[in-house]
């Protein structure tokens, strides 16, 4: 099981970035091996959500933990079979703990209209 958490910095102590497509970093974390890989995000002017979904899929994540996910990103992640957990807050470590405790909500639809709205 590999998680992808959107973050404002490259470590587990950094804050969760509430934006998915325009997150500063994607942190790929395996709770079993504790292996962490930080991928900086470089969204273009257009289709940031689509691009982000592709990065997550290419890095083999099974689930995304973030603040909110727009419709384009949602469609891309769903096509890739990636589970989506939204409403994450605090540090990345907090979010992982919340995921493990089962308190994060699985999103069955886009949580915003895109563009962070």
């Amino acid at each position: 099981m590999k998680l992808c958490i959107t973050a404002k910095g490259p470590t587990l102590n950094d804050e969760v970035d509430p934006s998915f497509g325009r997150a500063t970093y994607f942190l790929f974390y395996d709770p079993e091996t504790k292996e962490l890989k930080a991928v900086p995000n470089d969204p273009g002017a257009h289709g940031a959500g689509v691009q982000a979904a592709r990065i997550v899929a290419e890095n083999g994540a099974d689930a995304v933990i973030t603040g909110s996910v727009g419709p384009n990103a949602h469609q891309g992640l769903t096509a890739a079979g990636v589970k989506i957990y939204t409403g994450a807050q605090g540090t990345v470590a907090d979010a992982i703990a919340a995921y493990a405790a089962g308190t994060l909500s699985a999103a069955d639809g886009p949580s915003g209209k895109g563009h962070g709205r």
């Binding site: 257009h46 289709g47 689509v50 979904a53 592709r54 899929a57 384009n72 469609q75 891309g76 096509a79």
Partner: protein, 286 residues
């Protein structure tokens, strides 16, 4: 001669200026009017055109044949707008993000992509008060306004005095309406909010090399920051429209200022003379 009436901020009086300018000049100049605010065109309220022709504006969207697709991802790599994504053995086309350029079809090595037309909106053409009137109408739910504006601009007669009512803001649709104009009339109000958005609009017009004149609407409210900004930047203030109840009343009833008051006709004519004299002086227009 092509004049675009624009503003950073919405609701500053673009349509008031554009329609009154057209009406004030149409007796002596071959005016053509284009309502480029395709998401919410409202110049018809004041010009009351008779629409004679309507035509559809389309963009081409890619469709992928799963039998021919090898999921190589070349289409996604080529797309500047991330409008096509290859995720595993799935190709997703995001119709709203697609600009209809056809590059994905060109780069596809197996010929798996075909294109289907999709209507974005319509162009309506007719006559208003003796001069040609055109407007674009974007379909509800569509995100891409610029193809309609380009289509409107294709109807500009180079010999005519084309007046374009731009969409508000400083995004792609506004840039499309300003680009290629001989003059951008930027309508603002003398408030901090008005100034903030005026600065953005000035930046846009300058970035596409279009000379600027400013019109202050609702003059008398707010402060003098807009005038000080224009003085510092060397931007001429070509007209001030006072904040008056009578002007608001006429507007609310769809009555152009120049129809109600002959002095306003003279003021809009003088605005045009001043602006063109200034352009000639700067060597922009003959």
């Amino acid at each position: 001669m092509r004049i675009t009436v624009a503003s950073g901020k919405g609701g500053t009086g673009k349509t008031t200026v554009a329609t009154n300018l057209a009406l004030a000049l149409s007796a002596d100049h071959p005016v053509q009017f284009f309502d480029c605010d395709v998401e919410e065109p409202n110049a018809h309220i004041f010009l009351k055109p008779r629409i004679e022709r309507t035509r559809s504006v389309e963009k081409l969207l890619p469709r992928v044949d799963d039998e021919k697709c090898t999921y190589c991802g070349e289409c996604a790599k080529a797309c500047e707008f991330n409008a096509i994504a290859v995720i595993g053995k799935r190709v997703i086309v995001y119709d709203d993000l697609c600009h209809g350029c056809g590059l994905c079809k060109m780069v596809c090595p197996t010929g798996a992509i075909t294109e289907v037309p999709h209507e974005l909106g319509v162009i309506e053409e007719g006559t208003a008060r003796g001069f040609p009137f055109s407007r674009g109408l974007l379909n509800v739910g569509e995100a891409m306004a610029t193809p309609l504006i380009h289509e409107l601009k294709a109807g500009i007669d180079p010999e005519a005095l084309a007046i374009l009512d731009a969409p508000p803001g400083t995004g792609c649709p506004t840039i499309a309406a300003i680009q290629g104009a001989d003059l951008a009339l930027l309508v603002t109000e003398p408030t901090p909010f008005g100034l903030h958005d005026l600065k953005a609009a000035v930046g846009v017009a300058r970035s596409v090399g279009v000379p600027i004149g400013v019109i202050i609407n609702r003059d008398g409210i707010g402060d003098d920051q807009v005038e000080r900004f224009c003085a510092t930047e060397g931007i001429p203030i070509l007209l001030k429209i006072p904040f008056e109840r009578e002007i608001a009343r006429l507007y609310s009833q769809g009555i152009p200022l120049v129809d109600a008051t002959p002095e306003w006709k003279e003021r809009f004519q003088a605005l045009y003379e001043t602006a063109t004299a200034e352009l000639v002086q700067k060597g922009g227009v003959e």
